[in-house]
């Protein structure tokens, strides 16, 4: 783990953290914790292996710990009953603000997979090893996350199982 290599990963770590948690300060705190934990476990780092995947993995574990500590619900809200489309009565515009809002409404683990695919362009195998889950789980989270995001954004045509709240 050398400084230049870490410096090179910093922007991507920050981007992923920001996309995961939304708030800038909270995201940077998460990156800070990640680097601190990385240094404290530097002995476990195998030189020549993928530094990015290692750091993303650390960040993921920290985030899981964090959510557990805060007592936040880390279970996916996969029963669609609890979800209403963001703008059920509005027009058909997919906007950046909508996307940010819809993203925030995805269950944490679906968001993580979606972002690693979209932002990091990791392969499914890399995501599986980064998150410590089987590839099959990566695929089901990806599939659910994408579909949920699509429905949230297309609030004008909520799928039959999505209740329109007035």
């Amino acid at each position: 783990m050398d400084s230049r290599a870490i410096l090179a990963e910093l922007p991507r770590l920050r981007r992923y953290a920001r996309a995961m948690v939304g708030d800038r300060a909270v995201a940077d705190d998460l990156v800070q914790d990640t680097l601190e934990r990385g240094w404290s476990r530097v002995a476990q780092w195998r030189p020549g292996s993928d530094l990015r995947a290692w750091l993303f993995g650390i960040m993921h574990n920290l985030r899981v710990d964090q959510l557990r500590r805060q007592g936040l619900n880390t279970q996916p809200l996969d029963d669609a009953e609890s979800e209403a489309p963001i703008r059920p009565t509005q027009s058909d515009r997919l906007e950046v603000n909508d996307l940010a809002a819809a993203l925030a409404r995805l269950p944490e683990e679906q968001r993580a997979v979606l972002l690693l695919v979209a932002l990091e362009e990791m392969s499914y195998d890399e995501i599986a090893s980064t998150l410590g889950i089987p590839v099959g789980t990566v695929m089901s989270r990806l599939s659910r996350g994408r579909e949920r995001l699509r429905l949230l954004l297309e609030g004008r045509h909520p799928a039959a199982h999505l209740r329109v709240v007035r």
Partner: protein, 274 residues
């Protein structure tokens, strides 16, 4: 078609280019008869694209000092780490390298700030209702609507009179789409969009090859100075934009800068009669 049925996972792998060539061909053959699925996959593709755009500005932000500090091992870790096969910390020109790194970072930021200040900081602050710069708004609107096969516009060019009347009314000022037929771009139609503080308009054009171009027209620029042509690149989208009085114009397309400049000049000439 293969004896292996096409699965949901195959469809995602198709979107993410994770399939072997042969499997990809099988999925493509399957999709040829599944327009609904194609639309769904297009929506996923668009999600990826817009997510990337949404968070791209974070990559260009200046790095907080507390994170830069942690590119070097903190004191406690140094002791632990020196046990391992790391470089001898004493041999590094520690402070010297530090200041160079910081200076480089600062310098890069200064450059970015100058050349691409519109990229802004923290796209995610959109949630805090921070105004989006014109070329970014335009590029996002372009990338969202121009790939749409079925509904690229709200009002089509066949109803141009209504389009002009409607948008003029909503924007509170007469607007009309410039004619770009001489350059090979025909009007498809237009739509109303939310800007930073009110309505903005988007006109869409297409050439014979299906290449689309959008003109984004905002009337929110009160108080800003006029500008000449400015150029911005947002991923694969090139944008020429300029401000004239309260009007902000941005022309976006996935075509090269030279051709886009030609179109931008034509637009400018029509909108600003000499």
């Amino acid at each position: 078609m293969s004896q292996h049925p096409i699965t949901e996972a195959d469809l995602h792998a198709y979107v993410d280019a994770e399939l072997s060539d042969s499997r990809r061909a099988e999925v493509a053959a399957f999709l040829a008869a599944q327009p609904e699925e194609v639309r769904r996959l297009q929506a996923y593709q668009l999600q990826k694209e817009v997510l990337r755009r949404l968070f791209k500005p974070v990559l260009d932000e200046s790095l907080p000092a507390k994170l830069l500090d942690l590119t070097e091992p903190p004191i406690a870790a140094t002791m632990e780490a020196t046990a391992g096969p790391r470089v001898d910390a004493k041999k590094r020109p520690f402070l010297a390298r530090w200041s160079v790194q910081r200076m480089a970072a600062g310098f890069a930021i200064a450059l970015l700030g100058g050349a691409a200040g519109w990229l802004g900081h923290g796209q995610y602050q959109a949630t805090e209702r921070i105004a989006q710069p014109l070329p970014r708004q335009a590029a996002v609107a372009h990338v969202v609507y121009s790939p749409d096969i079925k509904r690229p516009v709200e009002v089509t060019a066949e109803q141009e009179d209504q389009l002009v009347k409607w948008l003029s009314k909503r924007l509170g000022t007469p607007v009309s789409p410039p004619k770009l037929g001489a350059l090979g771009y025909e009007l498809i139609g237009g739509r109303l969009l939310p800007g930073n503080s009110g309505p903005v308009a988007q006109f869409m054009y297409q050439d014979s090859s299906g290449q689309r171009l959008t003109l984004y027209l905002s009337t929110e620029n009160s108080g800003k100075r006029d500008t000449g042509f400015r150029f911005a690149r947002e991923g694969a989208v090139n944008v020429f934009y300029w401000v004239d009085g309260k009007f902000g114009y941005a022309l976006s397309a996935g075509i090269d800068k030279g051709e886009l400049a030609r179109v931008a000049t034509a637009v400018y000439d029509q909108l600003e009669p000499k």
